[in-house]
């Protein structure tokens, strides 16, 4: 088990390491002079000022020196300063990251709470009209753009019914974005659950249990659900990453003050230090969540726990 987890942790470090390289390269891939582009919008910057910014960002040095500078600062918790406002990037990100994580977690709970039972139900009723019905809903749910779902929810609950606020940052404001993100992922989870459960139901040990005459409900709970949930846990890591990605769009619909909204604003303003910080943060969060899930997986799956 320790070997399994060590492998995952090495992979995680590799991911973060490659991200740091990509993030340093990012600014050099920008066509044209990034400093000029960054300052194109603010009027009246003199050539001297532009040179100073270039020096401050370390852009006058060779790329590998820049990389080591970036890493050195990173270990000191320094992600540079925002172009507009000159605030420390890490501070700006940490102010907003809890909001995004809260949104992603709330959405995850909704997605699992709806998707898992529905997928299980469809697998149980496999081949019946119920199964077909659930799968039609699921494929429609997957095809529905979440930004459209967000607008529809906004229209009904905030504008027409007036039950929930249009935008803001309280707990009531969390409901609509979490619902938007959660519902669109519930469809994916329902499909994953269904196929995982069907795989398990066809296996010999389930057939044996049924042939022994055990009640069907017991077999489903003790045999099918347990075995079917294990592969699902590994998929949840990717699902969480999808949630984080989806949050970028959803935060913008509901003006939810998270890192996704910050990133889009930064792209418009060409604020590269924020974008770099955002990508790195995203990678780190996704990596931490997947290690956490892999640990759970290792504890649950006896094949790994006892190896």
């Amino acid at each position: 088990m320790i070997r399994f987890l060590l492998g995952k942790i090495v992979m995680a470090f590799l991911t973060v390491f490659i991200t740091t390289i990509l993030v340093t390269l990012l600014i050099h891939l920008v066509p044209g002079d990034p400093v000029r582009i960054m300052y194109a919008q603010s009027q009246g910057s003199t050539p001297e000022q532009i040179e100073e910014v270039r020096r401050n960002l370390g852009l006058d040095k060779p790329i590998y020196v820049q990389y080591f500078m970036y890493i050195e600062k990173l270990f000191q918790g320094d992600l540079g300063y925002t172009i507009r406002g000159g605030q420390p990037v890490i501070q700006v990100i940490f102010q907003r990251l809890p909001n995004t994580i809260m949104l992603a977690c709330a959405a995850m709970i909704i997605a699992i709470g709806i998707g898992l039972p529905i997928g299980f139900f469809a697998a149980y009723k496999k081949g019946t009209i119920w199964d077909t019905f659930v799968m039609i809903i699921a494929i429609a749910g997957i095809s529905m753009p979440h930004f459209w779902l967000g607008l529809i929810l906004l229209f009904f609950f905030a504008v027409e019914l007036g039950w929930l606020p249009v935008s803001g940052s309280g707990y009531m404001n969390l409901i609509l974005p979490a619902l938007t993100l959660g519902l669109s992922n519930a469809a994916i989870i329902a499909r994953l659950t269904r196929s995982s459960m069907i795989d398990v139901m066809q296996q010999d040990f389930v057939q044996t249990a049924l042939a022994k005459g055990l009640p069907k409900g017991l077999v489903l709970r003790r045999h099918v659900l347990r075995a079917g949930l294990v592969p699902l846990i590994t998929m949840m890591g990717l699902q969480f990453a999808f949630m984080m990605g989806g949050a970028i769009v959803v935060e913008n619909i509901f003006s939810w003050n998270g890192v996704g909204r910050m990133a889009v604003e930064a792209i418009f303003q060409r604020d590269y230090p924020i974008i770099q910080g955002f990508i790195l943060t995203f990678a780190v969060v996704v990596v931490i969540v997947s290690i956490f899930l892999d640990t759970i997986y290792a504890f649950i799956d006896p094949r790994i726990r006892r190896s």
């Binding site: 992979m11 590799l14 991911t15 490659i18 990509l22 990012l26 891939l29 920008v30 066509p31 582009i37 496999k126 494929i139 429609a140 997957i142 095809s143 529905m144 753009p145 930004f147 459209w148 607008l151 529809i152 906004l154 229209f155 504008v159 069907i198 890591g237 990717l238 990453a241 999808f242 984080m244 990605g245 989806g246 970028i248 769009v249 913008n252 619909i253 990133a263 889009v264 930064a266 792209i267 418009f268 590269y272 974008i275 990508i279 995203f282 990678a283 996704v286 990596v287 997947s290």
Partner: protein
Amino acid sequence: MSEKLKSEELKTKNQSFFIRLLSTPNGFIGLTIVIILILSAGFADFLAPFSPTKMMVGNRFLPPNLEFILGTDEFGRDMVSRILFGSRLTLMIGAIAVGISMTTGIMIGLFAAYKGGWLEILLMRSTDILFSFTETLIALSCVAVLGPSLTNAVIAVGIAGIPFYARTCYSAALVEKSKPYFEASIACGASHSRLVFMHLLPNVLPTMIVISTLGVSTAILAAAGLSFLGLGAQPPLPEWGYMLAGSRDYINRAPWLMTIPGVAIALTVLGFNLLGDGFRTVLDPVERQR
């Protein structure tokens, strides 16, 4: 095996691929939607009653009526025309983005599977890492580098899709590589290019085409998402995602502006998803039994 079963099997074998596809409900509905979409994109010039960018100040915010069947937007532009021309944009976005991801993905996948060794490890590990970043983040990073525009958004979505195609192509190519005929051709002294392009490529292509149908829907969704954020199509392009973004401000006054492009995107994506599902049911016997 009974006579009846034998004849059944013969029947399925003789039936052409398309007839089998059309006999699955998913494939039939999906293909219908996609054909309608292609027709509306191809004949947008004839079908559209107005120009998609023509502004008629006197006709702002008209709800759906006899002259403007789907109403007009905040500049008095006809929604029917904008949706029709938008379908052309949407199909082009989907095709180009998938073209980028698929050709690059196939090259990486084939190369890694055929070469083996440290190159294989390097290529597939980096693909895995990129895959865990999710397409949204990769696309967003690409737009951050290239700057917001429709072309850049399409390129970004294309790049973001590469890991998925590379992984699928890689595993399909590994399966082919382990088959006896492949070893036989090596033994016969076939050249590298013959092995890769005459043996591996034609055999992974069907799999790739099936997943690319599903990939079109992902690409269309992602590009519409970027346009929705303002990072893709710029005004006055009749791009559906961009149209949706504009509708948020008039959600009270003109709810049809929000409904129509949304339905258009959802139906298009649904069409490609169903078609892809249909393909898979026809081609994959395990899936067919379910």
